[in-house]
Structure formats: C-alpha cells, structure tokens
C-alpha cells in the first residue's frame, strides 16, 4: 500500500465516509474508491457490492483478481427527544453496536440523570446538527411528537441521505406531517422514506417495546440499505 492511499483512507474514515480498497497481492499495489464518488465502470459493481455487504474478500474484475477491503463508518443513532422511549433505546443501542446521541432542547427532559452514559445535547436540533453533521451511516429517530422540534431534523436527515429516518406518531399525526412537508416542497419520494409509525410492526405497546421495534427497524435499514449509484444492478 502506498502512503498516499493510507492517508486518503484515514481521512475518509475520520470524515465518516465509506471506503473500498483493491489490493494486488503480487505487488501490494492498491486502489481506493470512496462512497459517493464517481467510480470507473470496471470497478463500479465490485465497489457497490462491497459497500452493500460490508464484507472484505477476493473479487474478480476486468483487471484481474484483487483483495477487496471495506471500511464502513461505525453506524450511529441520533435520537431527537429525551423521552421514555429514548431511555430504553439508550440501553439497547450500545448492545447492538451503535453509538447513540440524544438531542432535545427541553432542558427538563434532557438531564444526564435520566440518560447516564449516552451523549446528550440540550439544544435545538438545528443548532446541534451544525456540530454533528448527519451522514449516510446515521439513523435518525424523531420521537418528541412535537413538530417544532422534530420536523427540521427529519428534513435534514432526508437531505443527508441518512440510512434510516423514523418518526414517532400515529398514522393521523404522520398524515399531518406529510402534509406539512409537501407544502414545504419536500418531494414525495423523500417523504416516502420516513418510517412512520416508527418501528417494526410487532405490536409494541410500552416505551421499551417501541424502542426494541425501532432498533430492529434501524438494523433492517442498515443491512438492506441501497448504496447507489451502482448501475446495471447485481444479479
């Protein structure tokens, strides 16, 4: 591996960008491609597959056989709302391998006593997100029920292509949300990405059960996510 490739790889990882490398084991020559960048056609399918599966291994390309390594940013969950569901999620998320951050401007809710161990930001999401930019490896779960708090980060998550965007609320609440977003000019295809009511449909009733359903839905979204812009499609 060349020093310049190592530098590119480390900078990409620090910036939470997914990277794929192809090494020629005969001479150690390595190529690197970053998620979201244009990628030459012969490599496109192999890059898309690697990003999708997250698995390293040998691949055959037009240029021969290479060892392909994949570097995905650690997934994280950003929760808008320091509510009861968030308390349960704060305990579950680390077990499943997620970093978690909670944002809630209501200081009565966002107290460290209620959320020991999880990063807690008692600010408006619009301000907090300036310091914590959203990205494709972030799941956003908005659970305050309050459009004044939830709407802006949901729209920011759609714009940032977060792998999961979920919003708490009944079907009626969500219909009102869809209406607000449409009037604000958000495309229907974007709105359709919002998972609402939040969580897999397992009949969850208590806050803890809703947290389990939400975490399961986040895991499903992560493992089945579309990494685009792979054309041609895998068989």
């Amino acid at each position: 591996m060349e020093q310049a490739i190592l530098g590119t790889l480390n900078r990409a990882r620090a910036a939470r960008r997914a990277a794929v490398t192809f090494s020629d084991l005969a001479d150690g020559g390595t190529q690197i491609f970053l998620e979201g960048d244009d990628c030459p056609a012969p490599w496109r399918l192999a890059v898309a597959r690697a990003l999708q599966s997250g698995k390293a291994g040998f691949v055959e390309t037009e240029h021969g056989s290479f060892f392909c390594n994949v570097y995905l940013p650690p997934p994280r969950i950003l929760v808008i709302g320091a509510v009861h569901i968030s308390q349960a999620l704060a305990q579950l998320a680390p077990v499943a391998g997620f970093d978690m951050t909670i944002i809630d401007p209501r200081t009565a809710f966002a107290t460290p006593e209620r959320f020991g161990g999880v990063e807690l930001i008692a600010e408006w999401p619009e301000d907090a997100l300036k310091l914590r930019p959203l990205d494709r490896f972030t799941a956003l779960a908005a659970v305050t029920h309050d459009p004044k708090i939830d709407d802006a980060p949901i729209r920011a998550a759609l714009a940032a292509d977060c792998f999961y965007v979920g919003a708490l609320g009944s079907r009626k609440t969500h219909a009102a949300r869809v209406d607000r977003f449409r009037r604000a000019g958000v495309a229907d295809a974007e709105i359709a990405r919002i998972r609402a009511p939040i969580g897999l449909d397992i009949g969850a009733a208590s806050p803890a059960e809703i947290a389990v359903a939400t975490l399961a839905e986040i895991i499903e979204a992560l493992r089945r996510r579309d990494v685009g812009p792979a054309e041609g499609g895998a068989p």
């Binding site: 591996m1 020093q3 190592l6 084991l25 001479d27 390594n69 994949v70 970093d99 161990g117």
Partner: protein
C-alpha cells in the same frame, strides 16, 4: 460509554509512525476458514523495531507475523502467510481454535 475511541486504530497509528520517519508494514487477514478470531480485513501494523498495534488473531499468531514483517520491511517484497492447525508449525504458532487464516503482509511505500 466504553470509549471505543480510546482503542488505538492501527491504520491511524501506521500513518503517525510514518510521519515520525519509521518504516511500517501492514498485515491484513485476507482469508479465513473455520473458526477464526478476527474477520477478513482486520489489520495489524508493525514498525521496523517490532512495535505493533491491532490484531489478526486473538493473539495466537501475532508474534510470527511481527517476525515476518521485519523481513518484509527489509526486502520491500510483500508476502502471504498461512496459519492453522494443518500447519507444521502448529505446535509453536497456530490457532488453538482450530481455524485457519491467511495474512497478507506489505510495506507502506512512499
């Protein structure tokens, strides 16, 4: 939190070593069979003095990889190592878990 951030990242360490003017080799798990403690793609980085960071097994074969890395750094030529119970050196270095792994060792070149 159990500060994952406090665990040194081998590739960041490798780059820092290079900036200090050290010669560095990167070892990468490229194939595993059966029960293997570290997945394909895992890294161990080694400098010319035998300092290392990261892992390619649960500590079973790191010593041997570090020794080989010194040769790779000296010669500049990459090599592929194989470890496992089928290996004749199994009594000295091998995977007690019964798995088998192949490790690619290369020098970071300017």
């Amino acid at each position: 939190m159990l500060g994952a951030a406090n665990i040194l990242d081998p590739l960041d360490v490798a780059e820092a070593w290079i900036r200090e003017g050290r010669k560095v080799a990167i070892a990468t798990v490229i194939e595993t069979w059966g029960s293997a403690p570290r997945p394909v793609g895992s890294h161990l980085v080694i400098d010319g003095e035998g300092n290392f960071e990261g892992s390619v097994s649960g500590g079973c074969v790191e010593g041997a990889v570090i020794t080989e890395a010194a040769d790779v750094i000296a010669s500049g030529a990459p090599r592929i190592l194989e470890f496992g119970v089928a290996d004749e050196t199994a009594w000295r270095v091998g995977l007690s878990c019964g798995g088998r792994i192949r490790v690619f060792v290369e020098q970071v070149v300017g």
